[in-house]
């Protein structure tokens, strides 16, 4: 009885092995997969963007794999949560490098996590950083696709000073590095355009902020425009309070990180005279973007995660990996860094070029129309303003 049962089990196992053989053989023939670690907001305060980040990266990887992968190697995605404290992300990074032997990292997260990752990776594998940031990242083997203050601020301030006749500006933002660095650039361009800053304040990041007092202060200061570097729920809250106090009729607003989710929160009745300049809006025109949106909808359906700059950046991240590694013919840091100069990269809205390990890219100036972004001006090939030297 015992013997018979073993035989039968052996038979079943053997059969399964035979049936699986073609699959095993096919994988054995192909080259090792190219392992990409994606650091994104699976949890934490930015988790709202997580689904879009993951979906956009998956779409790009599917497209790249269909077209032969990276140098014939199929991309294998390893997801890593960057929504927790930076120390958690670095632990994950070590595991992905040592155990999984990842070939490359893509990151869409805050700067604290970026700095921690840069010092953990130590340029051993390429690291592509994708969202909006404050500039200044020149670590070796690190490639930045993010919008920089230079790219966002100049078009915004020129709109305010040249076309809208703005003379005085009030600055309000969250208290961390991105708003402060961005506002440094705002002051610089404002001075050049003949305007001046008449008030500047920062509220803590991640605190339950209320904006009645700040809005009343702004009302008293009577600026022509307010430049807003608040993020997420604070950005929503401020703009709702601003309009609630009736300031939206007389004072222009330029927000520096206002994407689709935030605008939905602000609401149609609170978005009058609200402007914004970024490299991505879901309403950007063009054939490349239409094709991207069609593919995104085909893959994820009607309930696909909301398209927004934080999220769609991961699509370009995956294409940057392909372009970079194929041009360098490998993943050696020196080769990659040399290859990055003048590298053409596909993004959701079309090709862009890398210089100084940052992107020169088209920027779009948008005016809010209800809960939609109306593109009022396109600036082609805006330089990043970053001057990272070649190593």
């Amino acid at each position: 009885m015992q013997k018979k049962s073993v035989t039968r089990r052996g038979f079943v196992a053997g059969g399964a092995a035979l049936m699986a053989a073609p699959v095993v053989l096919r994988y054995a023939r192909a080259a090792d997969p190219f392992k990409v670690g994606l650091f994104y907001a699976a949890s934490g305060p930015a988790a709202l963007f997580g689904p879009t980040q993951k979906a956009s990266c998956e779409l790009a990887i599917e497209q790249i794999n269909k077209a032969g992968g990276i140098m014939g190697r199929e991309i294998q995605l390893h997801l890593a949560d960057a929504g927790g404290p930076p120390a958690e992300s670095t632990k994950t990074a070590v595991r992905l490098m040592v155990q999984e032997k990842c070939d490359l990292f893509i990151g869409s997260h805050d700067s604290a996590t970026r700095e921690a990752l840069v010092s953990t990776i130590k340029a051993r594998i390429p690291y592509i950083y994708t969202p909006i940031y404050e500039g200044g990242e020149c670590a070796p083997n690190t490639y930045v696709l993010a919008d920089t203050p230079e790219q966002q601020v100049r078009p915004t301030i020129e709109l305010l000073t040249k076309e809208k006749g703005v003379k005085s500006v009030y600055l309000i933002g969250n208290d961390y590095v991105w708003p402060r660095k961005t506002n440094d650039r705002v002051k610089q361009y404002l001075a050049a355009g003949g305007g001046k800053v008449i008030g500047e304040e920062y509220v803590p990041l991640g605190a339950p902020n209320k904006f009645e007092e700040a809005v009343t202060r702004i009302k008293g200061a009577k600026p022509d425009a307010v430049v807003v570097t608040l993020v997420g729920a604070d950005n929503v809250n401020f703009n709702r309070t601003f309009a609630g106090f009736g300031l939206d009729k007389d004072v222009l607003r330029a927000s520096m990180l206002l994407e689709e989710n935030t605008l939905l929160g602000i609401g149609a009745e609170n978005s009058k005279q609200l402007y914004n300049c970024m490299s991505y809006f879901s309403t950007v025109p063009g054939a490349a973007h239409d094709a991207f949106k069609a593919a995104y909808k085909a893959k994820f359906g009607e309930k696909a995660p909301q398209l927004s700059i934080i999220g769609v950046d991961c699509y370009a991240g995956a294409y940057c990996a392909k372009a970079l590694v194929e041009k360098a013919k490998g993943t050696k840091a020196a080769d990659l860094m040399a290859a990055s100069e003048g590298l053409e990269i596909m993004t959701a809205t079309g090709p862009v070029t890398m210089h100084n390990r940052h992107l020169d890219k088209p920027m779009y100036l948008a005016e809010c129309e209800g809960t939609n972004f109306k593109i009022i001006k396109t600036f082609e090939g805006v330089k990043s303003g970053e001057t990272c030297k070649q190593a």
Binding site: A207, K210, G220, V236, G244, N261, L264
Partner: protein
């Protein structure tokens, strides 16, 4: 008076009035039952979503008040029966249990509505002229409603039989039971009332802020500080706590900035916990 000063004074009154109502449910449950309901903020969140659903359905905004209070009251009924009653007189365990509940409520909301911000239209848009200062109509209405509600509650608590029975239950549960007060039912009703008031708070703040699953966290901390400063078990204490925490927070924010406002609130809360842990006006 300078219209800006008037506006800032109204902001302070607004801060105090809304904080008093947001903290009220927490005060009832903590003060009367000794249960610190960490999930209070999440019930505010549920109330805000109820308001969003009512407004999206096209019903008048006032309808959100009973809907949210009933939804949160029913939730409170279930929570009391399933979670709180087995843990009465075990404060630390209720703390952990309601903390777990807050995670569950947040994640449930995330599963149903996603993490995106819901935006409600202001039920009373525009501004009203108050002594030369244009103040938002809806905020003004909230100030009036909160003050009226608190006054009514204070009168009810001091004059009504139910108020007396509650006081008896809190002062000496065994004796209250011995004289025929059904303390079990009274405690349950107090908990349900606390939850329903959290729902009401959600309806109040929903048109002002982004509605999302994590919004509750914003309301629990200040409400807790109100109880620390004001002391437990009296309406005067609640108002004093809201006045000091909400008022001083707003005042310092108005004069300097929000960071200084927070620092002030935190320093005061720490000083009270250290030097006067029973608060200003705790029931003896």
């Amino acid at each position: 008076m300078d219209p800006l000063v008037t506006t800032q004074l109204l902001n302070i009154v607004f801060g105090i009035a809304t904080l008093a109502v947001l903290a009220l449910g927490l005060a009832i449950v903590f003060g009367l039952l000794g249960v610190l309901n960490i999930a209070h903020g999440e019930l505010v969140m549920v109330g805000a979503y109820a308001a969003w659903i009512v407004q999206t359905a096209g019903a008048p905004y006032v309808a959100a008040v009973p809907v949210a209070m009933i939804v949160c009251g029913l939730l409170g009924w279930v929570i009391e029966a399933g979670l709180i009653r087995p843990l009465y007189a075990r404060p630390f365990d209720t703390l952990l249990a309601t903390w777990g509940l807050s995670l569950l409520l947040r994640k449930t909301a995330e599963a149903i509505w996603g993490l995106g911000y819901k935006s409600l239209a202001l039920p009373m848009p525009g501004t009203v002229d108050v002594f030369g200062a244009a103040y938002p109509r809806y905020r003004l209405m909230l100030i009036v409603a909160c003050l009226a509600g608190m006054t009514a509650l204070a009168v009810w608590f001091t004059k009504s039989g139910a108020g007396t029975r509650i006081k008896a239950m809190v002062a000496n549960p065994e004796l209250a039971q011995a004289v025929g007060i059904r303390t079990g039912r009274l405690a349950r009703n107090a908990f349900i009332a606390g939850c329903a008031l959290a729902g009401l708070g959600g309806v109040m703040v929903a048109p002002l802020t982004p509605v999302h699953p994590f919004m509750g966290i914003d309301y629990i901390l200040d409400s807790f500080f109100v109880l620390v400063v004001g002391g437990l078990g009296s309406i005067a204490g609640l108002l004093a706590g809201a006045g000091i925490i909400g008022g001083l927070g707003s005042l310092v924010s108005a004069i300097t900035d929000r960071t200084a406002g927070y620092t002030t609130v935190l320093v005061i809360a720490i000083l009270f916990l250290w030097l006067r842990p029973r608060g200003l006006l705790a029931r003896a």
